[in-house]
Assembly symmetry: C2
Homo-oligomer: 439 residues x 2
């Protein structure tokens, strides 16, 4: 093993092509000291912050996702493979994929991200829709649009009422952005399109068990977000805790219940289960890992973690949030550590190199959440914005961020048109449901 | 019934939101003498001529499809419903949908279009991919891209060879356009993206049992198309007839066979099976209907047919082809007949109105097929184009045709970028396959 380590070319295995893993691969590309293999379950890097816009028909899937091997085409020392890693042997230094392929490494970066969490109630998953992948976003879009089609068709008013009720559990940025966009799409953009139903009868109910939505923002911003959501026609229920989920039905701890044909679960995330195979204790119930300040595992200097499956405070003692900029910075840091270590190898520092590794510092680029059509809240350090100016900031940041995705101009133009015409145009059900049971 | 017919508002049921049905609905919109119901299996009108570009990752699904109720939002006398019509009672004047809904009519237009035909071998469907719907196009895209991912991963060279073989059965415009675009995408656009395979090893084999591809064009154009396809690296096998299809395997009447991980079936279409419920004899084995020259059924003046399920020669004796412009013209004609009839009703011509109905005349707007990246063949009456000028003509016609779809500028811009950068950017597998079995 140490033999491998000192050999010229170091084999780096990156699990996950999200913001963290992709950034590490980019930073190591062209560096002949490394032979990098990036493995992802899907063939694309996903710009998750805009997933809710695919779910609400403002953007098409390819607008926010791009082939990983296309992004890394010029990185000749990087091999991209689509596979679902199932086992990690941290001591044997090998991982295996669902395809049966074995992946050996000298260095491992686990950056497999997070998935929807049901807080120990996995059976709730079958009754709810998540919003973590393109497939999730298209399921949300399909379900909402199909329920509206059924509501327009049915003569059963009770049935119609249920079909026109959407429950969104979780008042974080995802829930807030989805609730706002959904209310705007149906109640406003689609208002002339039906003959039997009134789109203003659509109920979008955002459920949060904390006292405020957007609890990571300041209270006045949370209150502002609630007011804006309500002015869009969405209902906000804070201090409401879900006790049980069944088919098209939510139960709450206060004994009340809610019938909704669509239940979207944005209440929490947990680390990818692979964190349980690293041979180190988990940091929390969400299965996250707390690494050393160099992002390697305690006692396992050849294994790194980055992105949403990490729970840590940086070298300044600042808690690192689960946001895209943090993941990019972690991926960047891991690449720096590997490059520095390769430089030191064979020098007199070689034996102490782990202690010499640079320590991660998180640079806070702020948080933002968009509410409906042209309003947002932004918090960056002491700076706070709300309303239209915040939305402009949001738009700029996201457009700039979209580098490398299906061309920004086209996406921006698409947005501009939808905005002017108030007509999100990706309102397509690709896989129509078998409708036998729909009545 | 006649009572209904003479009542002020005539109930028109349109089955199918393709080029024909949508055109009739558009022409009747705002005319208070008609109450129109348009029913389609899907929620969108599809611009089928560009379906192959979704299959080959140049365009996203919403670029070529648009919500039907969005298109007809302003048509207050038109109700759009998503349902799958299963039964038609031509004498009872009622249709029923999979949802159980009953649709009564005073006039019926059946414009449900065509579907992939397996020439009496329905069992071949499970081993092949069609290209008639957005779901089809995404299946083709997913299969091609997933097979490439597997080919890059596998160390079994036989397996890799099979995974990199795509058979396209049917040398009409769809087969030719798909073969050219696919060869260009993989062999050229993706050539830097793999580390273990050579994209030039991809075999795209176009199989046609006639002597020429594009047999509806002139022979010199067919020959030109073959040469261009071969220069893109596709293989063209004319005079080759499929005798049997099994899992990843084609058998030919000459005793030869072909192993291909992807088999795309573009060999023929047949009319929607609802034509069998109209109570009139079918015109051919493809289940098409030959109407009177006013497009109504013989002896059933209240039932009309239009689009790909029609087989007829127009009033000049010209055979009407199964192309979008013909469908639009038929839809337009049906609307004219209905309006004229409403005008005559109650006049002294009322009793002879059927014989007074206008007769359909097809205006030939020509045929075009694109081959690969910037070459096409065009035939319009005596006018023939080929090569780059034909491609420019193709591009203009299609961009103009895209009116009302996700904004043309964005699509055009997307094309321009892909063209300049030679990087189709919709290369996304939305639903990654369960890969247990893939090796």
């Amino acid at each position: 093993m140490s033999n491998k380590r000192e050999s010229k070319v170091r084999r780096v295995l990156i699990i996950g092509g999200g913001f963290a893993g992709l950034e590490t691969a980019r930073k190591l590309s062209g560096d002949s000291r490394f032979s990098v293999t990036l493995v992802d379950r899907t063939n694309h890097h996903l710009f998750q912050p805009l997933l809710y816009q695919v779910a609400t028909a403002s953007l098409a899937a390819p607008d926010i996702a791009r082939s990983i091997r296309q992004i890394l085409a010029k990185a000749e020392n990087v091999t991209v493979l689509m596979d679902d890693i199932e086992t990690i042997d941290p001591d044997g230094k090998v991982a295996t994929g669902a395809s049966g392929t074995r992946y050996e490494w000298d260095y491992l970066l686990l950056a497999a991200g997070a998935r929807t969490s049901f807080f120990g109630n996995p059976q709730w998953e079958q009754h709810t829709l998540g919003l973590k992948s393109l497939a999730d976003a298209q399921s949300v879009r399909r379900t909402i649009l199909t329920n509206l089609e059924r509501a327009e068709r049915t003569t059963d008013l009770e049935e119609r009422k249920k079909l026109m009720t959407v429950a969104i559990v979780g008042g974080g940025p995802t829930g807030v952005e989805l609730a706002g966009a959904l209310a705007a799409l149906v109640r406003h953009s689609m208002k002339d399109e039906f003959r039997h139903l009134e789109t203003s009868d659509l109920r979008v109910i955002l459920i949060e068990d904390a006292k405020f939505v957007l609890s990571t923002f300041d209270n006045d911003q949370s209150e502002y977000a609630r007011q804006r959501l309500e002015s869009l026609g969405a209902e906000v229920r804070t201090g409401h805790r879900v006790s049980d989920v069944s088919e098209q039905r939510l139960e709450f701890t206060d004994g009340t219940s809610l019938e909704a044909a669509a239940i979207i679960w944005a209440a929490g995330v947990e680390a990818h289960p692979l964190t349980r195979q690293l041979g180190v204790p988990l940091a929390d119930a969400a299965g996250r890992i707390t690494p050393e300040l160099d992002l390697s595992l305690p006692g396992k200097p050849d294994i790194f973690v980055a992105g949403d499956l990490v729970r840590m405070t940086d070298r300044e003692g600042v808690a690192v949030p689960g946001v895209a900029p943090a993941a990019v910075q972690m991926g960047d840091h891991v690449a720096d550590v590997l490059k520095e270590e390769a430089r030191l190898e064979g020098t007199r520092f070689a034996d102490t190199k782990v202690s010499l590794r640079p320590k991660f510092r998180y640079f806070d680029k702020g948080m933002m959440a968009i509410i409906g059509k042209n309003v947002a809240v932004v918090k960056a350090g002491r700076m706070k914005l709300r309303g239209f100016p915040a939305w402009v900031a949001w738009l700029l940041v996201h457009i700039l961020f979209l580098i490398g995705f299906r061309n920004k101009l086209a996406v921006l133009l698409g947005w501009a048109f939808s905005y002017i015409k108030n007509e999100p145009e990706a309102r397509i059900i690709v896989h129509p449901p078998a409708d036998r049971a729909a009545g």
